[in-house]
């Protein structure tokens, strides 16, 4: 049996973007009709915590356009 949370978070796609600060956009999809209506902030935060850690670790290794634009390049 699929848990309620698993049904809501059937897919997460994330993008690392920097625009003066680290930012990620997670796109949520649900296999369950109206499943996203039950998404709560607390649930999101706990599920995305590992992603935040991974992005934080990768941040220094990802070339950011901001570094060059900040130098006029």
């Amino acid at each position: 049996m699929i848990s309620r949370t698993a049904a809501v978070f059937s897919s997460i796609r994330a993008f690392a973007i920097r625009h003066s600060w680290a930012m990620a956009i997670a796109c949520l999809e649900s296999t369950e009709r109206n499943g996203l209506l039950r998404v709560e902030r607390q649930m999101l935060q706990s599920r995305l915590a590992p992603l935040k850690i991974i992005l934080g670790a990768l941040e220094k290794h990802i070339a950011s356009l901001d570094a060059a634009t900040g130098e006029g390049l």
């Binding site: 625009h19 070339a63 950011s64 356009l65 570094a67 060059a68 634009t69 130098e71 006029g72 390049l73």
Partner: protein
């Protein structure tokens, strides 16, 4: 456009000889440093004047900007005297001087990071040719207005 050997001689390429091995062979950092510096010079020139300063063809390698013309020009340039700044046209001198002043003596990792974060290297596929003039136009059109709005 300024020929490759002239740009290299103005950069005083033999000063980079401190990175030679005991056998007198050049180590990788000298090549990387010159690739990054010459690429930044061409990118800055493309941004400010709409044309590259050198006649290098740039490609996107795994590690950053690569130019076959620059690679073949480095070794012959090593034993030739550095050119005085006055030998370059005024506009070229200003661009080369500003890049050298800011980035000429930084750590290679810093240089790599700044070069690899420029627009052409961010948006281009591996091994593709970097058309700096076209990309500079695209960058000015798409990103400069957005920067002004967010500032």
């Amino acid at each position: 456009m300024t020929p490759a050997d002239t740009v290299l001689r103005y950069l005083g390429v033999d000063d980079f000889g401190a990175t030679r091995t005991a056998a007198g062979k050049l180590t990788a950092p000298i090549f990387l440093r010159l690739f990054y510096l010459c690429y930044l010079i061409d990118w800055k020139s493309s941004l400010e004047r709409g044309k590259r300063l050198s006649n290098f063809t740039w490609r996107r390698a795994n590690w950053g900007p690569y130019s076959p013309e620059l690679l073949s020009a480095i070794v012959p340039a090593l034993n030739r005297r550095a050119l005085p700044a006055s030998d370059l046209p005024a506009g070229d001198k200003e661009i080369v001087g500003s890049i050298l002043l800011k980035w000429g003596n930084v750590e290679i990792d810093t240089l790599r990071n700044i070069a690899n974060s420029t627009y052409p290297l961010i948006v281009s596929e591996h091994d593709s040719v970097l058309d700096l003039e076209r990309l500079a136009g695209q960058y000015r059109k798409d990103f400069k207005p957005a920067q002004k709005i967010s500032a």
